[in-house]
Amino acid sequence: MSREYEIVVGLEVHVELATKSKIFCGCSTAFGAEPNTQTCPVCLGMPGTLPVLNQQALEYAIRAGLALNCTINKYSKFDRKQYFYPDLPKGYQISQHDLPLCEHGYVEIDTPEGPRRIGIRRIHLEEDAGKNIHAGDNIASAQASYIDLNRCGVPLIEIVTEPDIRSPEEARAFLEKLRSILIYAGVSEAKLQEGQMRADVNVSVRPKGSTALGTRTELKNLGSFRSVVRAIEYEARRQWEALQRGEEIVQETRAFDEERGITLSLRSKEEAHDYRYFPEPDLPPIVLTDAEIERIRAQLPELPDARKRRYMEAYGLSAYDAGVIVRDKAVADFFEAAVAAYGKGAEGAKTVANWVINELARILNEKNAELAQTPLTPDHLVGMLKLVDAGTISGKIAKDVFAEMVETGKSAEEIVKEKGLVQLTDEAALAEIALQVIEANPKAVEDWKKGKATAAQFLVGQMMKATRGRANPQLANKVIRAKLAEVTGVTNE
């Protein structure tokens, strides 16, 4: 067998839709309520109750399908997927089996080899299950389990990809792009920390060059993109090593142990997946017309790829810069609002883009925070840029001011005033400082005398240091050269 192998991954991604009420009843979908305070006879699975489909959930699911380049099926229906688990009080989940709402879509991702399309096999609507709280550290050692059914009946779409993903990095790129598209489309907030987007990962391996699919294992319920990446890395290696030893891969569900970074066998697939689907008799079919589908298509908001193209065309941003900005809708909205408020056209847009891509991205990354978690508004940035333009603060000081704005939400003006950061543009005051610097650095002055022009740059640096970055650099440069000429009688260019 060849020593090189290829990873084949398909994903099943569950995403909570942003409806106010549950999919089949009027209970709230709000996150974080006291356990079992958002339930009713319908979502508790009481006998004799009737589910009624939430119109908004249907519309969001269609919108998601359109945003992901799917065909919307004009006839679809619900089915019962039957299995026993304590978080599913009815003993079945209402889902869609053979006639899902959307099919045959794709998501385009960027890879080091260029853009690649990951096929979407189907998207269907279903209800979420409740939440299990295990007493004890993990599912294997728990002594009792506690069930909160607030989440039971929250509308989900399940997005099933083709086995088109070839690496953990591609899986991450796909998930990030998918999340971004769904947020732009307004169908989900896709908050990972609230479990609004979770992935099941199907992994198999095969010798490089082979086109046959190997036996796959399924890794359930991964709640972060990092877990997806780590789980795929581990599982692919485990499978390949087993195959190298001549073992067979068992088709099974495995759990990813976050702490130890390994996957563990959970249950054999055959029995667990005998779901005995049958059409849900309590829900009539969904029949859509072309006109209804087109109405929803027409309302589709601008999606990340379109916005990226627009930024490139309207503002002359590079593909990379535009790509970084559009990735997070909140950041892109911030960018656009700042560009509009700054009002300097493409030139201004590039300035704003630089701040967003460099300083903002760096700070958010360091804080591991999202833009929405900071008090920063577009007006903050624009106010600061205007201070730079007016020469009130230097570009260097602006970086400190920016960081302070992200931290405190104070305006640039306030910060500059409070900390005395106003740029020194008074030539007489700078001349004073230049003289002090010249006296304190005789060696640099000697260098200058010998014709070394770089000595001036060193001394400008000393002036910046002495003024804690407040000296206007151009002016400091001019002044120090004049003073050096005056003191030494030597002029250097």
């Binding site: 409806t19 106010k20 009420s21 009843c25 009027g26 209970c27 709230s28 006291e34 356990p35 079992n36 305070t37 958002q38 339930t39 009713c40 006879p41 508790l44 009624v52 489909l53 939430n54 119109q55 908004q56 959930a57 249907l58 229906k77 039957q82 026993f84 688990y85 304590p86 006639l99 299990n132 709280i133 295990h134 599912i139 728990a142 002594q143 009792a144 389990s145 506690y146 069930i147 909160d148 059914l149 959970l266 249950r267 054999s268 029995e271 667990a272 005998d274 005995r276 059409p279 008799p281 829900l283 009539p284 079919p285 969904i286 029949v287």
Partner: protein
């Protein structure tokens, strides 16, 4: 078409039914007869008949996305064999 005893046991296990020896035997026989009747139905030519997914002449029964009052926690847990700290308490969940 008869159904095997093993298949009935499998279905009973999936449905969490604890059946006695007699029940198992009776059900195997009865299910076999139902399936035999399906064989009769299969003889009807349905090539031009669209599949029936739903028996009622209804479609697109929808509700607006409005939140309605839920049950209280106490009411929700009233029928629970065991409850603790506002949650349904169940035996340790084991897999497989």
């Amino acid at each position: 078409m008869a159904i095997s005893r093993a298949e009935v046991e499998h279905i009973a296990r999936l449905a969490r039914l604890g059946l006695s020896e007699e029940e198992m035997e009776a059900l195997t026989e009865q299910l076999g007869r139902i399936l035999a009747h399906m064989e009769v139905l299969r003889q009807v030519d349905t090539r031009d008949v669209p599949p029936t997914y739903h028996v009622l002449p209804l479609q697109n029964v929808l509700r607006t996305d409005t939140v309605q009052e839920s049950l209280s926690q106490e009411a929700a847990l009233r029928n629970a064999p065991q409850a603790e700290a506002g949650a349904f308490k169940v035996p340790k969940i084991t897999e497989g």
